[in-house]
């Protein structure tokens, strides 16, 4: 059988060799812990602690600010230092709760859990929501909202996004190898919400060892299967992944549920397992530290709120001063001004590069070569859309399907003229979407 995939996409150097063989190691943070109130899409969480309060690990410090929101939990025991404006990894200053870590990690008493079979649908969803679980691949969409489509009976596929198509990142890879059971258990929880659904683990074929491991773990699970995907970026983009697995295509005005699908990534499914089966809130995640400026790249189990500098120190520090620091993957991650920002629910990696490829390659004139068109997974014309964006011609931008862009960055990557196509299209898209909402 051929490998499942989509049309377009790129094959950058995957850089995973630096960290893929490094087992997950826990980091015990020493400095202050910082918890942004907004680590998800939707309303920021509301603080429920004040300066001077003593908190325990696993204690709620901010409650959900609405239905589309998520609570935040302390990942250490210690004293609340206050509410401060701090940089988050995406480079904006946001309201954060700062906690002085007493280094004792005393945990709160968790509510006892019932076996999955005895829980009702609402009880399961409440557990997931109350644990603060959000989409941990990068989008940060509250998991409960995603798992509450209008017609649950019409969901046919739960797709575990095990593609990890971003170069360098190996956090999901290690999770699949080392926490296979928790991953499968998370899938079991989600399947229990959708009686008519099958659960597919969609793995890129450069991670065959993971596919084998999962296959062995689901031998007795008739509703689950493993699907091998072609190794290609952006294979893990939600629309492209759904298409590869089900041959159903959704556009920008549709939701995965319209194609009978729900997609959750590896880390999210493990968080769902922790929330529902172990009854514990989301306080940690696995983060890859890599890049050519890092002394010994690796994968770390990190308590949320840990400063990125502590991660870099845990990976042996820098071999030479990097030009660029990235939170997330090199294709869609955010360039960080400083390492002084906390790990949040959506931080999958921190990468440090000696050279900044963007600064090294100044933009030149488009030669109309069409490489951006060939690789665009949305099948639109990035070079023309970028022209409209530069001229701020919103009408033409929308007419030429600019809103269909998934901002994967494949166009900017291949462009021989080194144009910042995704940047131009992305900012125009934001404006156009905002204007569309106003209407």
């Amino acid at each position: 059988m051929g490998l499942l995939t989509f049309k377009g996409g790129i094959h950058p150097d995957d850089g995973k060799r630096f960290s893929k063989d490094q087992a997950i190691r826990p980091i015990m943070p020493k400095g202050d812990m910082v918890y942004p109130l907004s680590q998800h899409i939707g309303a920021p969480a509301n603080p429920v602690v004040k300066k001077g309060d003593q908190v325990l690990k696993g204690q709620m410090i901010a409650d959900a600010g609405g239905f589309v929101s998520a609570p935040v939990y302390s990942s250490v025991s210690g004293t609340v230092k206050g509410l401060e404006q701090r940089f988050n990894p995406t480079g904006t200053k946001t309201e954060c709760i700062v906690i002085e870590n007493d280094g004792e990690y005393r945990e709160t008493d968790y509510e006892p859990v019932k076996p999955l079979a005895e829980m009702t649908r609402d009880e399961i969803l409440d557990r997931i929501a109350n644990a603060g679980v959000v989409g941990m691949g990068g989008a940060g969409f509250p998991a409960r909202v995603k798992l509450s489509p209008k017609e649950p009976d019409k969901i046919e596929y739960i797709i575990a996004n095990c593609a990890e198509c971003e170069p360098y990142i190996t956090a999901d890879y290690r999770r699949m190898l080392e926490n296979t059971e928790e991953l499968v258990s998370g899938m079991k929880v989600v399947l229990s919400l959708f009686p008519n659904a099958k659960g597919y683990f969609a793995v890129e074929d450069n991670k065959k060892d993971c596919a084998e491991k999962i296959r062995a773990a689901i031998a007795d699970e008739p509703r689950m299967d493993v699907k091998l995907l072609m190794t290609k970026y952006p294979q893990g983009a939600e629309r492209q992944l759904i298409y590869a697995v089900t041959k159903r295509a959704i556009n920008s005005s549709m939701l995965p549920a319209d194609a009978g699908c729900i997609v959750d990534n590896v880390e999210t499914l493990i968080a769902i397992h922790t929330a529902v089966v172990e009854g514990k809130p989301l306080t940690e995640r696995v983060v890859t530290v890599s890049g050519d400026a890092v002394a010994s790249p690796g994968n770390f189990k990190v308590l949320l709120g840990t400063n990125h500098q502590e991660l870099i120190d845990a990976a042996g520090g820098f071999t030479s001063a990097p030009e660029k620091l990235i939170s997330g993957g090199p294709m869609m991650g955010f360039a960080m001004v400083t390492a002084d920002a906390p790990v949040t629910k959506t931080s999958s990696s921190i990468l440090a590069f000696k050279e900044d490829a963007v600064a090294k390659n100044p933009e030149t004139a488009c030669i109309n070569c069409g490489r951006c068109v060939e690789v665009c997974p949305s099948r639109i014309i990035p070079s023309r859309l970028a022209d409209y964006a530069v001229r701020h011609d919103e009408e033409a931008f929308v007419a030429m399907n600019g809103l269909e862009c998934v901002e994967c960055g494949s166009c900017s990557y291949v462009c021989p003229a080194k144009r910042q196509l995704k940047q131009a299209i992305g900012s125009m898209r934001k404006t156009a979407l905002a204007n569309k909402r106003k209407k």
């Binding site: 629309r239 295509a249 490829a357 004139a365 269909e404 021989p416």
Partner: protein, 310 residues
């Protein structure tokens, strides 16, 4: 902790392919035809025209950008490509200063006046060739081989005379400097295909539609000798593989490339069979260049999720 690392929008990595690398590969792809032409027309000292025309193209780009206070872009090698292509489209006996006139016209009028690289709507080398053809018709249609003046094989073919297709394939015949040897052109074209610089859509649809047109209207049906002579004659191969495939002046859409190829095939056939001159490739390509915006408009791809995913 105030490191101030570089900040930019994602993606943070870039492919190795660069405009200058691509242009350099086109130059390398043109070398077999250029070197063969220089050797083939050694008695006519064709090398002088090739060197002077190419140098004039690069120099006029440099001087123009200097005068206009624009960044100097000669390092992207696009002017080398234009100059070399123009030279390969000139008869070996053309006075060198006419080559210079052509190069200046190509770079200044066709390319720079419209905004420089990427902005011209016609292939600069071909537009300059047509310009020279109108200005200096006599010299531009004066062909010599081994010291003997005479018609090109294509003119013979049009007059209904016999031609030696083997000589046309190898290149031992009259014509412009770079167009005579189909073998040399194909070696360069194969290189560009293997390097991923060009693909088969444009040249393929061009040549196939041309053959179909010739077979229907040529009066010789599917006679292989006649069709081979047409394929190997004139500027068809050089045009189809190196000038029709010019990124800037061809459609960006996938199906648009095929329609564009068909347009050129039909126009070339029309000009060659029913036109006043034996040759028609240059005009077919630059007229098709003008149709590109229209072709792109009608071949706009469907986006993913609206039918374009297949």
């Amino acid at each position: 902790m105030n490191e101030n690392y570089n900040v930019s929008s994602s993606p943070h990595i870039r492919d190795k392919a660069k405009t200058s690398n691509i242009m350099l590969m086109v130059v390398i792809g043109l070398l077999p035809a250029a070197l063969f032409g220089i050797w083939n027309f050694r008695h006519e000292n064709a090398w002088i025209l090739v060197v002077v025309t190419t140098a004039a193209a690069v120099l006029s780009e440099y001087i123009w950008e200097k005068l206009m206070h624009k960044p100097i872009t000669i390092k992207d090698c696009s002017a080398v490509v234009t100059g070399l292509l123009l030279a390969l489209n000139l008869p070996p006996t053309l006075p060198w200063w006419m080559g210079v006139v052509g190069a200046v016209f190509a770079i200044i009028v066709v390319k720079q006046l419209f905004g420089g690289l990427g902005q011209n709507f016609m292939n600069p080398a071909l537009a300059a060739r047509c310009f020279l053809l109108i200005c200096f018709t006599g010299r531009m249609t004066y062909f010599v081989y081994d010291g003997v003046t005479g018609p090109t094989p294509l003119a013979n073919l049009k007059a209904g005379e016999a031609v030696n297709t083997m000589d046309m394939l190898l290149g031992f015949t009259r014509g412009t400097i770079g167009e005579t040897s189909v073998i040399a052109i194909m070696i360069g074209a194969m290189f560009l295909i293997l390097m991923g610089v060009i693909d088969l859509r444009i040249p393929g649809s061009y040549l196939i539609s041309f053959v179909v047109f010739i077979a229907i209207f040529g009066g010789h049906g599917l006679d292989p000798q006649y069709i081979t002579a047409h394929l190997c004659g004139g500027g068809l191969m050089l045009g189809a593989w190196f000038m029709a495939t010019d990124y800037v002046t061809s459609p960006i859409t996938s199906s648009g490339k095929i329609i564009y190829g068909i347009c050129m095939g039909l126009l070339t056939g029309l000009f060659r069979l029913f036109g006043g001159s034996a040759e028609g490739v240059s005009y077919a390509i630059i007229i098709s260049n003008l149709l590109v915006p229209l072709i792109e408009k009608v071949t706009l791809p469907k986006p993913f999720g609206k039918g374009g995913e297949k």
